[in-house]
């Protein structure tokens, strides 16, 4: 570890197939460190290339999201050689925890806000790639911060937008099934505020088509 890491309070908070998240203290700040550990099955030349590409890509697209008006964690340091990203620890609660706990009014306005943010991403050619309620953090100031852009990509096509929102819908159906219908409707209302009615209609039709395809049925959270 370099650059003044304090190793005394390192907590692994999420171990994914592609990257792991650690909660740490860095220059007296509470931070998240996202580490892409080497994969033994890949030859080092390829492994280093992939990890450094993704380590560069993710902060870049997070920055693009900020430009689009969507809050994302502040990036504090990018260490391309070691494939580590240090970013702000966002205070707040995962939308997953609050969505079912708040009043109907608050829930719907939260969903409209989420939809509005997703609309801003899509309007600016950003596909999040993993829109679940655990990847959104509601701050004490009422903002929704989008995290984990590890699977994100740039695209203005209808298909990935549909896939993105379809995952959102599926998450609601599996994790927030009591309110799934009203929540998704509110999300699409918010989405329309950002991208307009015409585009929303096209995306909605796309989502329906994806559902009919029967693909993406197996749940992935």
């Amino acid at each position: 570890m370099r650059l003044g890491w304090r190793q005394n309070s390192v907590v692994l908070i999420k171990k994914g197939a592609e990257a792991s998240l650690y909660l740490e203290t860095w220059h007296d700040r509470k931070v998240i460190m996202k580490r892409r550990l080497p994969k033994k099955y890949r030859i080092p030349e390829l492994d280093n290339m992939i990890r450094s590409q993704r380590t560069t890509h993710e902060p870049h697209i997070m920055h693009k999201a900020k430009e689009a008006g969507v809050p994302t964690p502040t990036i504090l340091m990018v260490d391309v050689a070691d494939a580590n990203i240090v970013m702000e620890f966002v205070e707040g609660k995962q939308v997953k925890e609050v969505l079912d706990a708040v009043s109907k009014e608050e829930r719907l306005s939260l969903c409209r806000l989420i939809g509005k943010m997703i609309g801003r991403l899509h309007k600016n050619g950003i596909i999040h790639g993993d829109l679940t309620t655990s990847n959104m953090i509601l701050t004490p100031y009422g903002k929704v911060v989008f995290v984990d852009f590890g699977l994100s990509e740039r695209s203005v096509e209808l298909e990935p937008k549909g896939v993105d929102l379809h995952l959102m819908k599926r998450t609601l159906n599996s994790t927030h099934y009591k309110h799934a219908k009203e929540c998704f409707k509110a999300i699409m209302d918010g989405y329309a505020e950002s991208v307009g009615e015409k585009e929303t209609k096209q995306v909605t039709a796309k989502i329906r088509e994806i559902e009919k395809r029967g693909r993406y049925v197996a749940d992935r959270e």
């Binding site: 099955y41 993993d130 749940d219 992935r220």
Partner: protein, 342 residues
């Protein structure tokens, strides 16, 4: 529960989705008694569906006779005919389906249409003893990561364009390699890759859980034509990149589903390099790594017969008037009640 068939019941399986025409006799207790095959080898280029279908029609009598002979089973002793109903090349599928319909009605036994992808998964499970695996099915026509979930084999990731095996084939042809009987392009590329020394950078395309190989194929051919490395180096690099992509997606599915096994099946499963990479991931996740034996890896009649038996035993059969082939039959459209019946 349907009545369990005695072990002396036999199923004839007919496979004809692409370049292979296969016929096999499998007993209802899961013994592969014969597995006859004749592959169409194009003089140049890829598989011409009509030419392949013509080949299948020509060899069908010979292959069927061989299947019965090797198994020492008479046609009259067959109690079920299974055929590959899709996905695949229309003309080829129809040739196999025609033979299957004729035999089933002549012998007055039930007919069952089998999904080709289900066949590959089920024969892999039968041969390796895997019960509930994450399956990587890689062949000339398909590239699918799947796992069983709520009644069906769900697709977790798949190719967005060409199949893994197709990528290797088209690359090999473009750089002037020759395939031989018993050594298809995949094996030729694998041989050369072992002698490769230098890694040539090629595009690595994983989109979420899905894969893309068409850009990789083009880049590999371009790298060869612009002398970025020897043909051995390019084969080595192509395999490293493509197989790393496959392994990454398989690992994601494994991490998500927490299944106890990883099963590698399909024609490309014969590749030792791919096997070793998947084994690393399986070991890291505490899953057992299973690979389909070589003789059951490529398209074959035995897998169709076995999947047919499983389906039939859970009450599924295909009336002749509903036995149209389905060239785009997706894996996750198939209800697989036999998996939960265990």
């Amino acid at each position: 529960m349907p009545k369990k068939k005695p072990s002396h019941s036999y199923c004839l399986g007919i496979e004809s989705t692409a370049d292979d025409f296969g016929a096999a006799v499998v007993s209802f207790d899961g013994k592969v008694l014969s597995n006859a095959n004749d592959a169409y080898l194009p003089k140049e280029g890829g598989i011409h569906p009509r030419e392949a279908a013509r080949h299948h029609a020509e060899v069908s009598e010979k292959v069927l006779a061989e299947a019965f002979e090797t198994a020492s089973v008479k046609p009259r002793e067959i109690s079920l005919v299974a055929f590959s109903q899709g996905p695949g090349l229309g003309p080829c599928l129809r040739t196999g389906a025609t033979a299957a319909r004729a035999l089933a009605s002549y012998l007055a036994v039930p007919l069952v249409g089998v999904n080709h992808c289900v066949g590959h998964i089920e024969i892999g499970k039968l041969a390796t003893g895997a019960v509930d695996p994450v399956t990587l099915y890689v062949s000339g026509g398909n590239t699918i990561v799947s796992a069983f979930e709520a009644g069906k084999y769900r697709i977790f990731g798949e190719t967005l364009d060409i199949a893994m095996g197709n990528c290797l084939d088209v690359f090999a042809r473009a750089v002037g390699l020759q395939q031989r009987k018993g050594a298809p392009f995949g094996a030729v590329v694998e041989e050369l890759a072992r002698k490769g020394k230098k890694f040539v950078s090629l595009p690595y395309t994983v989109k979420g859980m899905d894969l893309s190989f068409s850009g990789l194929h083009t880049a590999a051919v371009n790298a060869f034509e612009s002398n970025k490395g020897t043909v051995e180096d390019i084969c080595y690099s192509l395999q490293e990149v493509a197989f790393s992509m496959l392994t990454e997606v398989t690992e994601r599915a494994l991490a998500h589903t927490q299944k106890p096994e990883v099963l590698l099946t399909g024609g490309v499963a014969a590749n030792k390099k791919l096997q070793s990479m998947l084994k690393v991931v399986a070991d890291e996740h505490g899953a057992r790594f299973c690979v389909v034996p070589l003789k059951l890896a490529a398209d074959n009649g035995a897998m169709i017969a076995w999947a047919g038996i499983l389906a039939y035993n859970s009450g599924i059969s295909t009336p002749i008037e509903k036995s149209f082939v389905n060239v785009k039959w997706r894996l996750e459209e198939v209800y697989a009640p036999w998996v939960e019946a265990k």
